[in-house]
């Protein structure tokens, strides 16, 4: 940035730039009647991995597209690495990498050519672009396939190539928009390992996901989106603590004791427990109540095959925060498809 050093005021700003990779305030974007983003504030410190969690249509993709300079917000502003995403879009682009929901690779080009093309577009000399391509193919285990057209790649390979393409320019900041959607468990685990490696290298990552487990596994901090708003933020543990409850699970050895267990748990906790597959699940706000339940069950001669007290899962947190589970309420509510023809296509399929 060409801020003259003689000026007095930039000093505090400089500090912010050093601290935060992303700062967004009041971002809003609407499509007709639908508020895709409804006043979103985000702060991502440098070198952290922020997980943006939410169901389909919560506004995650719209937020990424605004931050990656692909979409102008209707209101609010955002700075990425200290640059304004609207007024200094070009500078932002030279510092970020983006991997969208679709493997954005040119299928007619080989793996090598896809990466060399990006390198050349980033003004690398031809030799350097080739060297960087080879390095990335090696890192993503694609060296053997590198000479083949990308259309012959499997889904997991395409995603890896796509991710490699977003890393050609050594971005300081990486946007990963649902990078593992549609991947098989093994490819997903591979991708997770790569993302962890990037964070270890000091790259700031913003990752959107519908999978609570993914956010739990990867993210330093999590924000939860619903209907275009941030409805909760914190670390995974903090979020789990927000419901103020732990989860008690009891499975009686004999199925005929299920009713007794339900009665006792409900009576002691003061709320009706859930029953699923022979397992009784109750929400515990006071851990001191657990021994009382054990004593009562013992008195009644009920033997528990399984008895545990654990922190709420993110799934349960999401339910407590939004009143619906993370995996429903997507298709009927507003969604991100409006700004992505590609996604429209997949929905149609």
């Amino acid at each position: 940035m060409s801020v003259p050093s003689s000026r007095v005021d930039p000093t505090p700003k400089r500090e912010e730039i050093m601290t935060y990779a992303i700062q967004a305030e009041g971002l809003a974007k609407r499509y007709g009647e639908t508020k895709a983003l409804d006043g979103v504030d985000l702060e991502v410190p440098r070198g952290r991995l922020l997980g943006v969690l939410g169901p389909n249509g919560a506004g995650k993709t719209t937020a990424v597209r605004v931050l990656a300079t692909l979409l102008k917000p209707d209101a609010g502003h955002a700075r990425v690495a200290g640059f304004d995403v609207v007024k200094q879009a070009h500078q932002v682009r030279s510092l970020i990498g983006l991997t969208g929901q679709y493997a954005a690779v040119d299928e007619a080009l080989t793996g090598v050519e896809n990466l060399v093309m990006i390198g050349r577009l980033l003004d690398m000399p031809r030799a350097e672009a080739k060297r960087r391509a080879a390095e990335l193919l090696d890192r993503f285990d694609l060296t053997e396939a590198g000479g083949r057209a990308a259309k012959t790649f499997s889904g997991g390979m395409r995603r890896r190539l796509d991710l490699a393409a977003s890393l050609v320019g050594h971005p300081q900041l990486l946007f990963l928009d649902e990078p593992t959607t549609g991947l098989d468990p093994r490819s997903r685990a591979d991708l997770w390992a790569v993302v962890r490696g990037l964070r270890d290298d000091g790259v700031t990552v913003l990752l959107t996901t519908q999978y609570l487990e993914e956010a739990d596994q990867l993210a330093d901090d999590i924000v939860v989106f619903d209907h275009g708003k941030v409805i909760a933020r914190g670390t995974s543990d903090e979020l789990k603590a927000t419901t103020g409850a732990q989860v008690l699970e009891v499975r009686p050895l004999r199925a005929s004791h299920l009713d007794v267990v339900v009665g006792v748990v409900g009576d002691v906790l003061g709320s009706a427990p859930e029953i699923a597959g022979g397992l009784v699940t109750g929400s515990v706000r006071d851990p001191a109540l657990v021994p009382a339940i054990v004593r009562r069950l013992d008195d009644l001669g009920v033997v528990a095959a399984e008895l545990s007290l654990r922190k709420s899962s993110l799934d349960e947190v999401f339910l407590a925060l939004t009143g619906h589970r993370a995996d429903d309420g997507g298709a009927d509510s507003h969604d991100d498809t409006r700004d992505s023809t590609a996604r429209k296509e997949e929905v149609a399929i």
């Binding site: 320019g169 000091g202 590609a342």
Partner: protein, 269 residues
């Protein structure tokens, strides 16, 4: 944090310069053309339709229309060249639309390159393909008996006129590519637009047997003037009026479609 200091680019420029824009455009044109290297069949794909049209028109209709296939070829080849150019200019729409639906367009837009480079690169590559198609048509036509009666200057002039028109039309192609939902829709629009426009002209048949109202349209149709101009430039004859009208049409198309395309392009950003 050590990697951080390594990865920070030394300079972060506010926008790409002209030299960089040219370089990025060339890289993106290379991207469209290198596919041909891997898959030479692609070149044949580009050419199958022209060859088929050339052979069918010459040997099926030629005798009936002109009395001899040779005479017909001399008349129809310029028309076929013009028709093929119009069809080919719409491949720009298909390529662009595919980039958008596959997410490649977003990837390119997230890079620090000139906003115009993805469009300019594609159009540059498609223009080179137009030159190839022109050469193929003319070469094959000459093998079958077509004779250039003007000279090198005429051929160059015909090519220049065709490319001018194709470039103007590529603004329409860009608009279709940006706004169509998917590739199939692009093809439907392109086909149902181009078929009637190219056939209701004097590209393939003399127009005197057509009904009066159709002749009036044929007189207006830019394809008529383009075919006439190319005919004149390759076989000799008056060129000035038809070439002027063709260029005016090209300018008109560009004036209508360029702002619409730019607006559609901006809306995507």
């Amino acid at each position: 944090m050590t990697t951080f200091t390594q990865t920070t680019p030394v300079t972060v420029s506010p926008r790409p310069g002209i030299a960089a824009t040219v370089r990025h455009t060339a890289t993106l044109a290379w991207r469209s053309l290198v596919q041909i290297k891997h898959n030479p069949m692609e070149l044949l794909d580009l050419s199958v339709q022209p060859i088929m049209f050339l052979l069918l028109f010459t040997y099926v209709f030629g005798g009936a229309i002109s009395g001899s296939t040779g005479d017909y070829l001399q008349f129809s080849l310029p028309g076929l060249i013009a028709q093929n150019m119009l069809f080919a200019s719409l491949t720009t729409a298909i390529g662009l639309n595919t980039d958008i639906t596959k997410g490649v367009f977003d990837r390119l837009r997230s890079l620090p390159i000139a906003r115009s480079a993805p469009l300019a690169g594609r159009i540059l590559a498609d223009t080179l393909k137009q030159v190839w198609a022109f050469a193929l048509f003319l070469g094959l036509g000459m093998v079958l008996g077509f004779r250039v009666q003007t000279g090198v200057l005429g051929v160059v002039g015909a090519l220049a006129l065709l490319l001018t028109f194709a470039l103007a039309l590529s603004w329409a192609a860009v608009l279709i590519g940006l706004t169509a939902e998917n590739q199939e829709k692009v093809q439907i629009v392109a086909f149902s637009l181009m078929m009637p426009i190219t056939f209701t002209s004097n590209a393939f048949v003399p127009t005197d047997t057509m009904p009066g109202w159709l002749q009036k349209w044929v007189e207006i149709n830019p394809v008529t003037h383009l075919a006439d101009a190319v005919r004149g430039l390759l076989s000799g004859g008056p060129v000035a009026s038809s070439a002027t009208i063709s260029v005016l049409w090209a300018a008109g198309l560009a004036m209508v479609f360029a702002p619409l395309s730019v607006r559609a392009f901006r809306n995507r950003i």
